[in-house]
């Protein structure tokens, strides 16, 4: 299945295009895929842990309504439309804890729909 990649924002930090994934050399590790479900009004899981330098793909599904994923401190952003999963590539470049939220209003409870990306050294 062809999968879409949506990484928005010209200032995206740490966002890694997957356009050339198929040309990746065998020596390079495949990214770790983390499946994330965006339901009203929660991300499952709400906390995602990675290590600095680790190649990660956040694979979002939104089975109910259109949602958003936005981690402003990292410049990662994606529109999550029901349908095929939306893949966001991420290679953390610094340790810390970075909040993300749903930035597409999705109903009564939207304001509490958030999560955290935890990057370990």
């Amino acid at each position: 299945m062809r999968r879409r990649l949506l990484v928005c924002g010209a200032t995206a930090l740490g966002a890694l295009s997957l356009a050339g994934l198929g040309m990746r050399s065998a020596a390079q590790a495949e990214p770790r895929v983390v499946a994330v479900v965006a339901r009203r009004f929660v991300f499952i899981p709400a906390e995602i842990t990675a290590r600095v330098g680790e190649a990660v793909v956040l694979e979002f599904s939104a089975p109910e309504v259109v949602m958003g994923f936005y981690a402003p401190a990292l410049g990662l952003r994606a529109l999550l439309v029901p349908g095929p999963p939306v893949r966001v590539a991420w290679r953390p470049d610094r340790a810390g804890s970075f909040d993300f939220l749903c930035d597409v209003f999705c109903g009564d409870g939207h304001e509490g729909m958030s999560g955290r990306l935890v990057v370990q050294p």
Binding site: V66, P72, L79, L101, C102, D103, F105, D108
Partner: protein, 297 residues
């Protein structure tokens, strides 16, 4: 009288291009003693979230808006007009319930003794149906009007659930601005902040930069908005932004805690943090903001 003025913070804003002069804490009347005669004044109400049900944060949710209406009606000098900067109602998935809430809200504010009431949608009113129900009751979600030489521009940054003003509205704004002199007095009304106040709490407009880029060429621009349920004052260059308190529950200071959870109701100080503001424009172009809290009891 159900509601009285119990606090007055006065912000005096210099006129064209001069930026912000802060005079908070002055007694309202004293602060205005030496000011030029008032040219006109209007009231900003915001974020009543009619239909909200949450006793822990506002057990008086069914009465708070009516208290504000009564307090505005009790002003010694009636305002020239009133603006309501969004989230008139609390969101619901039920389209019929949404219209019921809008209908009830409309009936309550019909008691305001003012000729002109300019309403804007918030995301709770408009984001789930792209403003359809709001428009049925109140007309266009973006518009402009003029009052005594001041150009008011109402922008919709909520009918798109992703908080975009959008290309069509940006083009409309450009057309509105093109008719004005660069030093024309302009007041922008909107719901969300046009600048990145707290993106981690979704307190922003995705294409707010594009709006501000257009406005930046004009030397006398002031923005009044809602959404954040508290007073907040900010400058983008020479453009002043003023957020209003809500009429349902206060929210914490921007970014002050991990989550933007409502401030709990304080039975010892009912209605704390809820209120509205009066904006006076003086003959010299200065604006004075006066905060009125919803009083308990």
């Amino acid at each position: 009288m159900p509601s009285v003025i119990d606090r007055r913070d006065v912000l005096r804003l210099a006129g064209a291009g001069a930026g912000l002069v802060f005079a908070s804490g002055l007694a309202g009347c004293a602060a205005r003693a030496g000011a030029p005669a008032t040219d006109f004044h209007f009231v900003q109400l915001s974020d009543s979230h009619w239909g909200f049900d949450g006793p822990a944060v506002n057990p008086e949710a069914r009465h708070t808006l009516a208290r504000a209406v009564a307090a505005v009606n009790a002003l010694a000098a009636p305002p020239d007009f009133i603006v309501f900067t969004g989230d008139l109602t609390h969101t619901t998935d039920d389209a019929q319930e949404r219209r019921k809430r809008l209908r009830e809200f409309k009936a309550i504010v019909a008691d305001l003794r003012v000729r002109d009431l300019h309403l804007l949608p918030g995301e709770h009113d408009a984001s789930l149906d792209q403003g359809a129900a709001f428009q049925e009751f109140f007309g266009p979600t973006h518009y402009a009007f003029e009052h005594r030489g001041v150009h008011f521009i109402a922008l919709d940054n909520v009918s798109d659930p992703a908080a975009r003003v959008g290309e069509a509205q940006l083009a409309w704004l450009a057309g509105e601005l093109a008719r004005l002199d660069k030093d024309a007095p302009i007041v922008v009304l909107t719901h969300r902040p046009l600048f990145d106040l707290a993106p981690q709490w979704d307190w922003a407009t995705r294409d707010g930069d594009a709006v501000l880029a257009q406005l930046m060429a004009y030397s006398n621009v002031t923005v009044f908005y809602g959404h954040i349920h508290q007073q907040h004052h900010h400058l983008s260059g020479h453009i002043a932004h003023h957020a209003a308190t809500s009429l349902i529950f206060p929210l914490p200071a921007p970014g002050s805690q991990p989550r933007r959870t409502p401030v709990a109701w304080d039975a010892a100080r009912p209605f704390r943090g809820l209120g509205w503001r009066e904006v006076e424009r003086h003959g010299d172009g200065a604006l004075a903001l006066e905060q009125y809290d919803v009083a308990g009891g």
